[in-house]
């Protein structure tokens, strides 16, 4: 059995850990509110963008010559996966969930004998993937310096993806991120952004539009922007998910630490009393023998 001193030290250490996790929870809760707000504010833009593109792609007459970003290269040989994770740890299953989703997708692609290329956004994803898929990772980006997800960063990633597409480095591009549902639930998502996958989405109106300049030119200008927008949306969802996940993880940790302190305190009191009783017995039996 541990000595009284040891128990005291352990209680103190668990208590200070609890303080840290509690503080982290508070910070995550405050950040979550902000992240959630900006995720909600960012939605109209990507929705509108999607709408316009839907209208445009339905209006396009010459499907054969449609921009490659929309229709694809006609093959499916090389897949590019953009795996978006956080830069910090201590956020529960947040990163592992994305990685798990991504890994099962990778395995499927490799089984089919296709080529795989990976871009990791965020250092945690890179850490977890580089052991197994190190040779497949072509680029690793991290935005440690920027406090909040901003469009400028997303645009950088988007431009890079488009550049690689134009150089013919891949045929299909998929992004992986966590969709924020609520504080306890985040759903890992795989979304294909090149070629654009519009199947299953119904066009809202039959109305025809006037285009100025013509459809092709608008589309070829719009599609690259849409890539950045989709990536930005993923970043916003991700940052809300990260904070939510961290908040619930830290909440659990705080509660566990509390339980541990209780248990240790009982053990401490018990052994203290045992020591006192032992001393009393020694004194009494000493007095009796006189």
């Amino acid at each position: 059995m541990a000595s009284l001193d040891d128990l005291k030290k352990r209680i103190a250490s668990v208590k200070s850990t609890q303080k840290i996790t509690k503080a982290m929870k508070m910070v995550a809760a405050a950040k979550l509110r902000r992240a959630q707000e900006s995720a909600e504010k960012g939605r109209p833009y990507s929705e509108k963008m999607n709408n316009v593109i839907l209208n445009l792609s339905n209006g396009i007459s010459d499907k054969e010559n449609a921009p490659k970003l929309l229709s694809g290269t006609g093959q499916e040989k090389t897949h590019l996966c953009v795996v978006m994770t956080s830069d910090r740890g201590l956020c529960g299953g947040f990163n592992s969930n994305i990685i798990k989703k991504a890994k099962s997708y990778f395995a499927k692609i490799l089984d089919e004998g296709k080529e795989l290329k990976i871009i990791t956004v965020g250092s945690k994803g890179n850490d977890q993937l580089k052991r197994v898929y190190g040779d497949k990772i072509i680029e690793n980006i991290s935005f440690k310096e920027s406090k909040n997800a901003n469009y400028f960063d997303a645009d950088k990633v988007g431009k890079m993806v488009i550049e690689k597409f134009e150089e013919g480095e891949f045929d299909v591009c998929t992004i992986f991120y966590n969709q924020f549902k609520n504080v306890i639930t985040q759903i890992p998502q795989a979304q294909q952004i090149i070629p654009l996958n519009n199947e299953g989405e119904e066009i809202s109106s039959e109305e025809s539009y006037e285009f100025e300049p013509d459809e092709d030119e608008i589309l070829s200008n719009l599609l690259p922007k849409n890539i950045s927008t989709q990536i930005f949306k993923a970043m916003l969802e991700n940052s809300a998910s990260e904070q939510g996940s961290r908040m619930s993880a830290m909440d659990n940790a705080t509660r566990n630490a509390g339980e541990m302190v209780d248990k240790l305190t009982i053990e401490y009191n018990r052994s203290r009393q045992a020591a006192i009783t032992k001393e009393l017995i020694e004194i009494i039996s000493g007095a009796e023998s006189l």
């Binding site: 900006s38 504010k41 960012g42 109209p44 833009y45 990507s46 509108k48 963008m49 709408n51 316009v52 209208n55 445009l56 901003n150 469009y151 997303a154 645009d155 109106s205 109305e207 025809s208 539009y209 006037e210 285009f211 100025e212 300049p213 608008i218 200008n221 719009l222 922007k225 927008t229 930005f232």
Partner: protein
């Protein structure tokens, strides 16, 4: 019948501006400035760097944009843009910063004709603001 329609400007971060008493909007469309009044035909177009003018009962407003898409449908005008500034909030130093950036971009030699054109446009517009 009123001659007013609704305009909504969104940027990636948030819904930037919503106004429903607008009588006319002038946007710098890619092929020249375009004035939009009520009951305009449904149109999609995109923007080049320039000034958006919004005329309404509650006063006129001017915004500087660098790019974007306009969609007009059922008397709803949506403008999607990634960079927008209210001219009323823009002071000299901000303007100079933007101008410097645009000039740097325009002086690059390794860009294609279209980005060169857009950068030149930016410089031109920003210079006229002075």
């Amino acid at each position: 019948m009123s001659e007013e329609f609704k305009v909504e400007i969104v940027n990636p971060e948030k819904s930037f501006l919503v106004k429903d008493d607008v009588s006319e909007v002038v946007v710098p469309a890619f092929e020249g400035e375009m004035g939009i009044l009520k009951d305009h035909i449904s149109i999609i177009s995109f923007l080049k760097p320039g000034i958006i003018k919004i005329l309404s009962k509650s006063g006129d407003e001017n915004y500087y944009v660098e790019d974007g898409i306009v969609e007009f449908k059922n008397n709803n005008l949506s403008i999607l843009t990634s960079t927008i500034f209210n001219l009323a909030d823009m002071d000299k130093s901000k303007q100079q910063d933007l101008l410097k950036q645009a000039e740097e971009e325009a002086n690059k030699t390794d860009i294609n004709d279209q980005s060169k054109y857009l950068a030149d446009q930016k410089v031109e517009v920003l210079k006229t603001l002075n």
